[in-house]
Structures are given as structure tokens and as C-alpha cells.
Amino acid sequence: MIAVLNGYCEQKNLKKKCMKFPLSILLTLLGGIGISLISAVPWWGFVGVSFAVALVIHQVPARAFAAGFLGMFLAWGGLAWWIDWQNASLLSKQIASIFPLQGSSAALLMLTSIMGGFWGV
């Protein structure tokens, strides 16, 4: 399957760096969110996503890293922000004082995003 995708990318001439980079971010982001819908996949399943994206879309390592980071940063950050917004930060305020982040929901959201980004790498 990787080979097929690889071929597809070649065909569409996605070798151009400018196209590859945002695409790999987007793929990482969507894959990172989508993978959790499969119940058999453990919590770290999305690491496989950024791994696969890096395999599929050839880029220089620095860009592959950055794409993985940004993709998962946005995936985790976005999801967490959406949950937090619906919850009016009820829980994040309490967790942020356990951590300890002085009860700052924003700091906890940032930590979550960065943690996601790290996985992406």
C-alpha cells in the first residue's frame, strides 16, 4: 500500500516541497484523529500514523520531523481545545492545579499540544 501511495505521490508530482509539507501535516493531523476511532488501536497508535506519513511522503528529515510535530500538535491541540471549550474548562482548571500549572487551562492545552507534537516527531 505504501508503494501505491508512493507511486501516487510521484505521479501527481508532489515532490515539490511546497506541496508535500502541508499535505504531510494534514495527513498526520487527520490520521492522528482518525486512528483513535478504531477501538483495537492503543493510545499511542497515532505514532504509527506519523511514521507512515513519513514513509509515504519523502522529505528531508527536518521537514518530516516538522510535519510530524505540527500535524500532531494541531491534532491534539485542536481536539483538546474543542473538548475544553464544550466543558467551559471545568476539568482542565482542576487538572492544571494537579500538574502543577497554577490552574491554567491554557498552559495545560499548550502542554497537551506540545506532547502531541512530540509524538508526531
Binding site: I33, S36, S39, W43, W44, V47, S50, F51, A54, L55, H58, P61, A64, F65, W76, L79, A80, I83, D84, Q86, N87, A88, L90, L91, S92, Q94, I95, S97, I98, F99, G103, L111, T112, M115, G116, F118, W119, V121
Partner: protein
């Protein structure tokens, strides 16, 4: 593709996953915990969350519907009884899973599985107290009757139907923090939960160990003076002047009691690891139609327990084809425990009776395989206890069981290394019983006869069941299985070398203190002694007198009563003890010896209105002063043993001061000179003033700042973020509104028995145990303000009522 960097990166990534999949000290594994898809974010419930839906539940016999109102109180409508309790189990698990799991593990002496090695001593004590033994005995009764078994089986199946479908993401947040998993439910766990209540309410109502030390210090006349059975100002549960029939059981003091028991001056070093809060108690009262504005009775109840988040209570309505009950349930158990139906209302307070005694055992040798009983060596039953410990190897303990019960203290288990006395515990909670069925029947009772029949079999912990019916009856029974004791039996450690000191029998159920429709038109109980001195049995216990005095006087003076007046009484801050004490304290204080600052505190006390309101300075001064006085009088005498001997109750000290100003105990026996009462009281005030000055500097002189009323999460200081601290409320243990730091009215209920039932209730928490839910603590502020929620006894015809916010339809699968 450059394979090198890629592999390096992949390896790093895997290492990072591995590292962050482990807990870092107190912080859980970061990666998983922060994951928006699996970690704590999943516990952040949307404010607009839909609690309804459709469920297919395996094990359900018919269909059931749950209507949630705007406070998330479920109104359960089921076709049959089994399904009713199946759904109750499901809902308890849905909203309180961690709570029921934690509480029953702790009850079974398995706290170390969650908390690690710091809980080992607690767990050993639970095992040695025979908590599992007690639950197993109860289980035999619960499962011995096929009908009772079917109810508990259904409840258990309901809890498990929720647990079995749980995904990792949906685990309660505490499991994610602690890195443990929930355990499937069993009927034994429901039995354990009831034994947890039994321990809370009937394992701390005796002071046998500390009393034994008091006996080593004081002469018999002194003992009866310092630890009297009937306080002077007692207003008992059964109205004064009630004529009691001649007792059917007359226990006989053993011939050798003087030499082996009363004159035995040996001290004891053993101490309990976990003493139930002596403040565990409650108020309830009922007024007959003759005293109310409507002409219908009104019933009130507020059980005083540890205040926790989630609350010990879960509000629910349970409706089947032949029952319709509303009230609070105990998560972990089927039924409504305190509540009402369309015919009756009932409530409970703790009896405070002593139903736990210690017997000294002589083992043949260190192996504890045999003990000396009735002239020969008798084999013990040895029970090997394995205590699993989180992040560590299991610990083993062997508990010897004798004819009296398990040997709680011996050389292998004592909190003091010099302890050398082997003490077996005889505790009423060990006896087989099925308390649950009392509640099953109460839930369905229609009149006084049904109520009497329902409570008759209730064994332990002894409760004051108060009752009112729509037909106008009011009643109270102090119900439990209580030993018939000879005078002073079981106040101290008893000899265990034969059966002569064993309980000789029980007070016949019909002779338990009770009252039905008294002339005066009201009944009340507030953990005081149930009856005056004419009651023909010896009934020791840990009683509180002042609260009952205030409630009784207030009820006697009121007429044309409405629910709102009884709400005000539940929130009443008047300090009866202070009213009695202030004149004697002021008379004895030597004002010339006080500094200006001390005089200013004394002035606060003099001018105080005697109400322990949140903003009161006077209550703070009084409490510090009074505790200092008690300490100055008693600590010198009582510290002659280690651990210290039993402190006379606050009520006893108060009455001694009122009766005898030349009190001999005022003298500090550690000094050469003779201290008189004025000297001791003045110096006690000076000591209190030091404390007050410090509190004043911290800005904590007002009573609520001083007391810091708080509701903690079940895991206490481990999770302060989940607590609600610094509430603006007053009160104290001796005051009707019995709030004490993190203890107090855990549920306030008022039921007006008019047609259709008018009822109000509130507990300081919320329906959901999830800190990420808006229903975690939504009632805390309602409770804090002394306000109530309206309890809605929903009918079949109300299915389209606007109060219904969510509907959960369960079908059998």
C-alpha cells in the same frame, strides 16, 4: 529515503512512548494522560451533554426507562423489581464507579492495592477486625433467601453491565490518575459496603481500650462520676416518663467479675489504626399533624458523616409496578436508604450504642494455633490474609479466630511495640444479617405496621428509624440487635478464658426503645441516649446530648409548623453547651490577671449571641477557650497511661463544672501547688488567647475561617484540586447544624406528608462522581446557603413534564 535518520527518529519516538507510558512520581504517565482521545480530556463532559439515549442491556428482563431531571436525578421506571435494581446498579456504576470500587476495596482491607505500602496497617486492621468475615456472614443471609438473592444478583448484573462495556477512554479519571483498573462487582461487595457503614457507625461507639486505661487510674466511684451513663440534662429519644415493661432478659454478673474484671488494673498499649469519627451521627425528628399548619406530619432527617466528593449519597426515584420510592441511596447497594413514598417517609440516625467488646486471649505459644478456653487448649481457626500492595510485594498476615471473634491485636500486630495483650473482638456486625431487606420493605411500606415489620430484622449498626405516614402516625424505634449486658459489662477489656463474660443474650426486639404517637406531638433523635435511667437495660455508648436538647426545646415551643421552619431548625446555629457554660466560665475567670488583648477576646465572648454563625468571633473564642479548659482539667490525670485514658465527654465536664466548683480534678497533679478552678480557668483562657492571637494574625478569627469547612474528594489530600474548600458555613458537632471542618449534614431532607407529598432535600455534592461534570459539585453552594432542592416524586402521567431533561431507554438484549 535516508534510512539512518528515519530509524533514529523512530527509535526515539518508541523510547519516548515507553517513557511516557509510565507514571512519573505522582504525575501519571504523561502521554496517555494528556491524550485528548484516551486521557483525562475524555472526562471533560460537554456542559450540554446528553445523558439519555437507548441501551441494550444483557440480563435485563423487560424494558426500563430512566427520566433524568435538571439536577441529573434519575427517575427509574421498570416493569419488574429485578430490573429496577439492575438499572440502579447500572446508574451507580455509570456515575460513581470509582467511589464504589474504592470504598469496597478499602472495606475489605485492600486499600494498598490502590494506595501502596502506606495503607498496609489500615488493611491489616480491616482484616483483623474481620470486615471480610462479617461481609461473608452477611452474604450467606443475603443469598440464603431466593428473593433477596435475585435482587442483589440483579443489582450486581447492572453494575457489571456498565463495567463490561467501559472503554479505556471512558474510565473515571481517578483510574487514569492512579493507573489501576476497575474490578467487576459481586454481591459480596454490596455486603462489604454495608459493613463499611457498620464500621463507621458501630465500631467507634465504644472506648474499651482507653476505658481499660481509665480503670487502671481511677477508683470505681470516680469512674461512675467521670463516665456517667445518664447525663443530667438528657432529653432522650423516648419521651421522659415512658413506662418500660419488666425486662424479659436479666443478665447476671459473673461471680468472679470483681477480681478478674473490675479490680484488674492492667493497662493496655494497643490502639486502633483507623478510629471511626466519633462525630458520625445525625439528627431526625418528626412533628404530628397536631403541631403543623397543614394538619399533616412533617419529617426531617440529616445524617452527619464525612463530607466527600462524590457524596456518600446518590439521589434516585425507583418506580416499579408495586412500588414508588424517592430518596437517597448508597452507591454500592440497591434500594433507597433514606426517603419516602406516596404513603410514608422515614429517616435514620445512629444509635451510638456499644456493640463491640474486647476479650483477652491466652495463646499456647507464639504460633497462635491454640488458645486457653474453659480449662483446655482449643484450636484457633487461622485465616491467612494476603494483602496485595501497589508497586511492591504482597504482605501476609495470619488472623486467629476464636469463639469470641478474630484476634485483632497480638504480638504480630500492634501500633505500639510493647503491646503484649492478645485481644479478640466480639462485634455485632460479625453476626449474620440482611440489613438490605429492611430497606426493600421500607421502600414499599404503606403504614405503621409495614414500617414496624420492615425494621424488625435490622441488626447492625443500630439505628433510630423515624417514621411518619400520610394517615397521621408518627413513630420512632431504636432498632438493632443489642446485647443484654449486666451493669458495666464490656466497658473494659474482659477475660476470655471461658464463656462467663460472653454476651448472655440480646434485648428482645420488642423491648428496644420506641414511641408511637406521643401526646406531645413530636419525636426527635440526635445521637443522645435513647431512654432515661428507668430503661431496664444497661446501654452504654458514645452519646451526644446538647443537640437533642436544642431540638427538643425548639420542637416543644413551635406550633403551626411549616416545612420552612424545620429547614431553619436543620440550619440552626445555637450553641446550647455554650449557653450552659458561659456563666460558670465567666464567674471563675480572674479578669485582673488578663492583658488588654486577652480582655478584648473575653469581651467578644461576653457579648456573643451564642450562635455559631460563619462570621461569629464569639464562637471561635468559646471553642478555643472551652477546649483549653477541658485539656487543663483532664490531660494531667489522663496522661498517666499511654495511650491516654478516655476523656470524659464534653457534657460530663460541663455538668461537673455546673455541679461542683471545688472540682478536685481542676488541680494540675504535675505541680506541687494546689490549683483551684479559677486559677485553671484563667490560665486556660490565657493559653487559648495565644492560639486566638495567632489565628487573628492569619485572618482566621471568624468561625468559618477558623474551621475551614471543606468537602474533600475521596482521595483527600492526594487530590486537593477536586475538593471544595473554605465554605462559608458555621455550626459544630454539638450544634444542630453539625458542621465540623469536613464532617456534617451529608443529606438534609424534609418531607411533608400531604397528598402528593411535598419534599425537599440537598447534599453537598452532586449526582456525578466525575470532577469534569457540571453535576460534580452543583449542590455544594445550595447546601452552603441552607437552601433545598425540591424532590420530585414523578408519576407515570408526568412523562412529558418539562422537568425531564434526558430520557434513557433500556431494552433487554
Amino acid at each position: 529515503m535516508r534510512i539512518g535518520p528515519f530509524l533514529l527518529c523512530a527509535t526515539l519516538s518508541i523510547a519516548l512512548v515507553a517513557a511516557l507510558d509510565r507514571p512519573l512520581g505522582k504525575i501519571p504517565p504523561l502521554g496517555k494522560f494528556l491524550s485528548p482521545q484516551y486521557g483525562f480530556w475524555q472526562n471533560a463532559e460537554p456542559l450540554g451533554m446528553d445523558y439519555g439515549g437507548a441501551l441494550n442491556l444483557k440480563g435485563l428482563k423487560g424494558d426500563a426507562t430512566v427520566y433524568f431531571d435538571d439536577r441529573l436525578v434519575p427517575h427509574v421506571f421498570a416493569e419488574n423489581e429485578e430490573d429496577l435494581y439492575f438499572i440502579q446498579g447500572y446508574l451507580h456504576a455509570r456515575f460513581r464507579l470509582f467511589q464504589i470500587d474504592l470504598q469496597t476495596r478499602a472495606a475489605a482491607g485492600r486499600a494498598s492495592e490502590l494506595a501502596g505500602s502506606k495503607a498496609i496497617n489500615f488493611d491489616r486492621e480491616q482484616r483483623r477486625l474481620g470486615m471480610v468475615f462479617a461481609a461473608e456472614n452477611a452474604l450467606k443471609e443475603m443469598e440464603g433467601d431466593p428473593f433477596s438473592k435475585s435482587i442483589f444478583d440483579s443489582y450486581t448484573a447492572g453494575v457489571n453491565s456498565y463495567i463490561d462495556q467501559l472503554t479505556e477512554a471512558a474510565l473515571p479519571i481517578e483510574y487514569k490518575l492512579m493507573q489501576v483498573n476497575p474490578e467487576r462487582w459481586t454481591n459480596l461487595k454490596s455486603a462489604l459496603l454495608l459493613k463499611m457503614m457498620a464500621k463507621m457507625l458501630s465500631a467507634g461507639t465504644e472506648n474499651d481500650l482507653a476505658n481499660t486505661n481509665a480503670k487502671s487510674i481511677f477508683m470505681p466511684e470516680e469512674l461512675s462520676r467521670l463516665y456517667p451513663q445518664v447525663p443530667d440534662s438528657l432529653l432522650p429519644i423516648v419521651p421522659n416518663g415512658t413506662i418500660y415493661p419488666k425486662p424479659a432478659v436479666i443478665p447476671v454478673k459473673p461471680a468472679n467479675a470483681d477480681s478478674l474484671y473490675f479490680n484488674n488494673k492492667q493497662t493496655v498499649a494497643a490502639q486502633l489504626v483507623d478510629t471511626p469519627d466519633p462525630g458520625n451521627g445525625s439528627n431526625n425528628w418528626v412533628v404530628a399533624g397536631s403541631k403543623t399548619k397543614s394538619g399533616s406530619p412533617i419529617l426531617a432527617n440529616d445524617p452527619h458523616l464525612e463530607l466527600s466528593l462524590p457524596s456518600i449519597w446518590f439521589e434516585i426515584q425507583l418506580k416499579s409496578s408495586n412500588s414508588n420510592t424517592y430518596g437517597v441511596s448508597l452507591p454500592g447497594c440497591p434500594f433507597v436508604v433514606i426517603g419516602f413514598n406516596d404513603s410514608i417517609a422515614w429517616g435514620v440516625t445512629n444509635s451510638q450504642r456499644d456493640v463491640k467488646d474486647y476479650y483477652e486471649i491466652k495463646f499456647k505459644d507464639e504460633n497462635r494455633k491454640e488458645y486457653w478456653f474453659a480449662g483446655k487448649w482449643v484450636p484457633c481457626k487461622l485465616r491467612v490474609e494476603e494483602i496485595k500492595v501497589k508497586d511492591s510485594l504482597p504482605v501476609y498476615d495470619t488472623v486467629a479466630y476464636t469463639i469470641f471473634g478474630p484476634v485483632q491485636f497480638d504480638h504480630r500486630f500492634s501500633t505500639v511495640s510493647s503491646a503484649n495483650r492478645n485481644l479478640a473482638v466480639r462485634w455485632a456486625a460479625h453476626d449474620p444479617s440482611n440489613e438490605g431487606m429492611t430497606f426493600y420493605k421500607l421502600n414499599r411500606a404503606h403504614n405503621y405496621t409495614d414500617y414496624e415489620e420492615a425494621i424488625r430484622t435490622f441488626t447492625c449498626p443500630g439505628q433510630n428509624f423515624i417514621f411518619a405516614s400520610r394517615t397521621g402516625d408518627i413513630a420512632i424505634w431504636q432498632q438493632g440487635k443489642f446485647p443484654a449486658r449486666w451493669v458495666n459489662q464490656g466497658l473494659y477489656i474482659m477475660p476470655g478464658e471461658d464463656s462467663s463474660f460472653l454476651w448472655q443474650g440480646y434485648i428482645p426486639q420488642q423491648e428496644n426503645p420506641h414511641s408511637l404517637n406521643p401526646e406531645r406531638g413530636y419525636l426527635q433523635s440526635a445521637n443522645q441516649r435513647a431512654a432515661d435511667s428507668t430503661y431496664p437495660y444497661f446501654i452504654p455508648g458514645s452519646y451526644t446530648t446538647a443537640r437533642g436538647v436544642r431540638i427538643d426545646k425548639k420542637l416543644a415551643s413551635l406550633s403551626g409548623i411549616t416545612p420552612s421552619e424545620l429547614m431553619a431548625l436543620q440550619y440552626d446555629y445555637f450553641n446550647t453547651s455554650a449557653e450552659d457554660l458561659r456563666p460558670v466560665l465567666l464567674k471563675n475567670i480572674i479578669e485582673e490577671q488578663l492583658s488588654e488583648k486577652e480582655m478584648s477576646y473575653l469581651q467578644q465572648f461576653k457579648n456573643w449571641d451564642l450562635y455559631a454563625t460563619p462570621n461569629s468571633f464569639g464562637q471561635t473564642v468559646f471553642q478555643c477557650f472551652w477546649e483549653s479548659v477541658q485539656s487543663s482539667i483532664w490531660s494531667d490525670e489522663l496522661s498517666r497511661t499511654n495511650p491516654t485514658a478516655t476523656w470524659p465527654t464534653e457534657q460530663t465536664t460541663l455538668e461537673l463544672l455546673l455541679k461542683d466548683t471545688a472540682l478536685v480534678y481542676a488541680d494540675d497533679i504535675t505541680t506541687i501547688q494546689k490549683e483551684t478552678l479559677p486559677i485553671i480557668i484563667t490560665s486556660a483562657f490565657k493559653k487559648a488567647a495565644v492560639n486566638l492571637e495567632q489565628k487573628e494574625a492569619e485572618g482566621k478569627l471568624t468561625w468559618s475561617k477558623f474551621m475551614n469547612p471543606s468537602v474533600y474528594h475521596l482521595l483527600k489530600d492526594a487530590l486537593p484540586a477536586f475538593a471544595r474548600k473554605g465554605l462559608t458555613v458555621g455550626g459544630y458537632g454539638n450544634i444542630v447544624n453539625a458542621i465540623k471542618h469536613s464532617h456534617g449534614p451529608s443529606w438534609r431532607m424534609i418531607v411533608h406528608l400531604v397528598d402528593g407529598i411535598e419534599a425537599y432535600g440537598v447534599f453537598p455534592g452532586g449526582q456525578s462522581g466525575n470532577p469534569g461534570s457540571r453535576f460534580y459539585d452543583n449542590n455544594v453552594s445550595v447546601w452552603e446557603k441552607g437552601e433545598y432542592n425540591k424532590c420530585w416524586l414523578m408519576r407515570e402521567a408526568d412523562k412529558n413534564d418539562s422537568r425531564i431533561k434526558w430520557v434513557l431507554r433500556a431494552k433487554k438484549s
